[in-house]
């Protein structure tokens, strides 16, 4: 039988919000049809009366009313215990303030810590928005993201140029800023060289060869592959050159790029000529010296000795195939190998040079320097192909790259019957350890070079032997 229970608790107090919460908790108990725990203000008494409860006339605003409608009088004890428990719970305390949630935008992050620079690697369609946050807050930005539309790149770089800020990228894989490696970067000592690079792995090859020659690099600033195009017109290259020119530690600036659009080249040469620091151009492409030759020119200009670039191990016996198969994670390294091979063997001789870092292979998956599975798959296929004469690989070390690439490649290489030549781009101070990586690869049966150009020439030589 339905029973109403109304009790006054003179002097008991809780705020109205707490009491609403208590009422809701008690309403959820078994046997409770309705519950209202409230201070007996005129408004609440009216509400209670409308609900059909008889509130004692002496009830005042400083009294708490507990009004319960039960489906059976036997449920009263449980219900009142529930009221007390809910009142207690309402006064519980949590253990201090919650941890502060991380920022959700680049703007918010710089509001919290207004220092340093931004590193953007979100999908290309979203990169401008984050990068612009950094520029508007007055900070340099490196855009690792690729697939950023050209007009967005121009808008970003113009906004940065107005503020004297540097945009590295888009599609900038590597930078060293005041010794800090960003993206995929090798660990090098500080030194007299400053690099401006439109190519990530090209920059890494230069960093590692200079390191082997005992020449340090203060900063290496990426500008993105399109910066010297006719549309972008070197907006980032100029700012990067200016920064390095201002750096007293930099004695020689090296600019690494594909040949710029013709009139842009003239503008940049003119700008470079206006600087106090000499600028050495290392251009990539047909008819230009390779990266290793470019590095040698830099060393000579600095008056340093050009070392012999190291080679370790020896290849397997030559087999019967005809073709060179180059499988690369570094785009510039693949391009360099292809050019050298074309000059030596002809452009359409059937040799292949695949860049697994190309957009065609990275849409929806990580860069091959992070996820090696796709290249390993292709490596097995190339090895199984009787037409394959020689296999040419690169291994890129440094911050951001996978922790032990040689260990992943070694079993695959050991299973290959054809000769395998590997260019390892790395330094002794890299997290993976250059020497350890080389030993692992050599033990697996590869011939290992530090120079990609030299590794390519060796592979070509082996093809020649096979013919």
């Amino acid at each position: 039988m339905t029973t109403n229970h109304v009790e006054l608790r003179p002097g008991a107090y809780a705020d109205s919000v707490t009491l609403l919460q208590v009422s809701r908790a008690v309403q959820g108990l078994d046997g409770v049809l309705a519950a209202q725990v409230a201070m007996a203000t005129a408004l609440n008494v009216e509400v209670l009366t409308e609900m059909g409860f008889a509130v004692p006339t002496e009830a005042g605003a400083n009294d708490m009313v507990v009004a319960l409608r039960l489906d059976d009088a036997g449920a009263l004890d449980v219900a009142l215990a529930g009221v007390d428990a809910a009142l207690r719970d309402a006064n519980r305390r949590d253990d201090g303030p919650a941890e502060v949630a991380p920022p959700r935008t680049t703007a918010s992050a710089f509001r919290r810590v207004p220092a340093g620079l931004a590193l953007v690697s979100v999908p290309g369609a979203n990169a401008l928005v984050e990068a612009m946050d950094a520029v508007e807050a007055g900070h340099d930005v490196m855009v690792f993201s690729d697939n950023v539309p050209l007009d967005q790149e121009i808008a970003l770089k113009r906004a940065a140029a107005e503020r004297g800020l540097l945009v590295m990228g888009p599609d900038c894989g590597t930078a060293v800023v005041g010794g800090l490696g960003l993206g995929f970067a090798n660990t090098v000592s500080p030194g007299p060289v400053g690099i401006v690079a439109a190519s990530g792995t090209g920059c890494q090859q230069l960093l590692t060869l200079l390191d082997h020659a005992g020449v340090g690099v203060s900063s290496a600033l990426g500008v993105g592959g399109r910066d010297l195009s006719a549309e972008v017109r070197g907006l980032s290259t100029r700012e990067a050159l200016r920064r390095l020119d201002e750096d007293a530690a930099v004695e020689l600036i090296v600019l690494v790029s594909k040949p710029p659009a013709d009139d842009v080249a003239a503008e940049i040469r003119e700008y470079a000529g206006s600087l106090g620091t000499p600028v050495e151009l290392v251009l990539l492409g047909p008819g230009e010296p390779d990266l290793t030759a470019g590095t040698e020119a830099v060393l000579r200009r600095l008056g340093r000795v050009v070392p012999d670039w190291p080679v370790s191990g020896s290849t397997a016996e030559r087999g019967g195939g005809r073709f060179l198969r180059g499988l690369f994670v570094g785009g510039t390294l693949a391009g360099e190998a292809k050019l050298i091979a074309a000059e030596a063997l002809g452009a359409d001789a059937g040799h292949t040079f695949v860049d697994f870092g190309d957009d065609a292979y990275t849409t929806g998956r990580a860069h091959p320097m992070i996820d090696p599975s796709l290249r390993l798959d292709h490596l097995a296929r190339a090895a199984a192909d009787p037409e394959t004469a020689v296999i040419l690989l690169d291994v890129v070390l440094g911050h951001g790259a996978e922790p032990d690439p040689a260990a992943l490649l070694a079993p695959a290489i050991a299973a290959i019957s054809q000769p395998v030549v590997v260019a390892v781009v790395g330094t002794d101070a890299d997290p993976q350890g250059l020497a350890r990586q080389i030993i692992t690869l050599v033990d697996a049966g590869a011939e290992v070079h530090l120079s990609n150009a030299q590794a390519t020439r060796r592979a070509i030589e082996l093809i020649g032997d096979a013919r």
Binding site: G116, L128, V177
Partner: protein, 470 residues
């Protein structure tokens, strides 16, 4: 070049790890994809050269305004409102689509104005639509809580920006429970409104004018807001300290007004007994500030959030008078008596102008009692205010939150940041019964419908593209 002291990493976490491995501090952004279909519009606006400075100007204009209480007078005088003209909360709406509480308030308003004797007869009047017209409060420099119905005979607070003379208006607060703004129109509701018209309004007018003419100058509403935020009010669902400070400023002049002492006593009791009395000053103060940002070409800042019980609408500084609307949501909260979720009407009222200006739900951290409306905790309140900083352009240096080390409240909702983060503005609100005549059924927390922000974004981007093409 020097080694960076900090790197903000947005994207792949492994790059952040690599930086931390080199012993440089990393600030990791918890990036997530933006709202569906907004990539291109967000990029357009990021590249819009006008956006940043426009937003800076819009925010500064808003923060500069000081609202003072300069008059109390009938809407007929102040707004030229004529018999048959009704103002209501939210974006424009016709009777056919009006919700229960808005209909109830309109019916009560018609009876108050003597257009009908019995409120029940007013439905036919509004259905015919020949002798009555509906218009949003916002179109008349006015804001109205809940149904927000304003009729010619209602007395209004007049707030003025001393620097420009611009004014905004709001009706007087009736209290809680069965009141017109929650859609109730019973005899007690109309009796109270008549008393407010005949006694409270004229008395407040005398008091406000006397205070203004005295040496102390007009009541500084913005200043009271500054203080109440330090006293546990967030100025939307909790206005207790603000109401008492207003009484402190007005009561001497009320007592010496020369009006009947019983009327004065009743008025003092009415104001002091209505913790929400100050809400109707907080709201027009917020509108006065936000209106200063209206018409700022290129700005993506929200200048109004308002609901009519059916639609939730926003306006932005850069899109003129256009409303971007979607369905009003149901609040999540606690219910009075034995009311439950089935009794509640969707979100209603212009009071979200407080959140638009950075208080209310945005200042939850300073009013932890409010978070219990949804069974939350004090850490939730702190987290809510911090979260709102993710979608706002800046902070208000006057309105600060002691428990957050006196950080200014998050101010200037940015449409682009809402779309980027998917974080929706948090609004504290009362809940009206969905049947006309019921009144208040609860209170709780609510957010706008997400889709109105991409709609506003699309228009802002369209305007930016037109500018770029010029």
């Amino acid at each position: 070049m020097t080694t960076p002291a900090n790197v903000v990493n947005v994207g792949a976490d492994l790059f952040a790890d690599a930086i931390a491995d080199q012993a440089v501090a990393v600030t990791r952004v918890d990036w997530r994809p933006p709202m569906d279909g907004t990539d291109a519009d967000l990029a357009t606006l990021a590249a819009d050269p006008l956006r940043r400075t426009a937003n800076e100007r819009a925010l500064a204009a808003m923060l500069e305004v000081t609202a003072t209480l300069v008059d109390v007078a009938p809407a007929s005088e102040l707004l030229g409102l004529e018999p048959g003209q009704f103002l209501h909360a939210g974006p424009p709406i016709a009777w056919e689509r009006a919700s229960g509480p808005l209909r109830g308030a309109l019916m009560g308003g018609a009876a108050l104005e003597g257009l009908v004797d019995d409120p029940e007869d007013a439905a036919a009047l509004f259905e015919s639509g020949t002798s009555v017209s509906l218009e949003p409060c916002h179109h008349r420099s006015t804001v109205g809580p809940m149904a927000g119905v304003v009729t010619p005979s209602m007395w209004m607070f007049v707030l003025e920006d001393a620097a420009t003379g611009r004014r905004t208006f709001c009706s007087l607060n009736e209290g809680l429970g069965k009141v017109l703004r929650y859609g109730a129109y019973g005899p007690e509701v109309l009796t109270r409104l008549r008393w407010m018209r005949d006694v409270l309004g004229p008395l407040l007018q005398k008091a406000v004018q006397a205070v203004q003419d005295s040496g102390q100058g007009p009541v500084d509403v913005t200043g009271i807001l500054t203080q109440m935020l330090q006293m546990g009010d967030e100025a939307h669902n909790r206005n207790r300290a603000g109401t008492l400070m207003l009484l402190r400023d007005l009561s001497p002049a009320m007592v010496t007004s020369g009006m009947d002492s019983a009327d004065v006593a009743e008025s003092l009791r009415f104001i002091g007994g209505n913790d929400h009395f100050f809400l109707n000053l907080a709201m027009p103060a917020c509108k006065l500030a936000l209106d200063a940002a209206r018409g700022t070409e290129g700005s993506t800042m929200v200048v109004a959030m308002a609901r009519n019980g059916t639609d939730f609408g926003i306006q932005t500084a850069g899109t003129g008078d256009a409303w971007f609307t979607g369905p009003a949501q149901l609040a999540d909260g606690l219910f009075l008596g034995d009311y439950g979720p089935d009794d509640a009407n969707p979100d209603i009222g212009d009071s979200a102008i407080t959140e638009t200006a950075g208080i209310g739900g945005f200042a939850m951290a300073t009013a932890p009692a409010i978070v219990r409306l949804v069974g939350g905790s004090v850490p939730d309140a702190l987290a809510t205010t911090r979260r709102m900083h993710e979608i706002t352009l800046g902070e208000n240096p006057r309105w600060t939150v002691p428990v957050l080390e006196f950080q200014g409240v998050p101010s200037g909702i940015d449409v682009t940041r809402v779309c980027r983060t998917g974080i929706l503005p948090q609004i504290n609100t009362g809940m009206a019964g969905k049947q006309a005549g019921v009144g208040q059924v609860g209170a709780g927390l609510v957010t706008p419908p997400a889709e109105i922000f991409p709609k506003a974004l699309a228009r802002l981007a369209e305007l930016a593209r037109e500018r770029a093409a010029r």
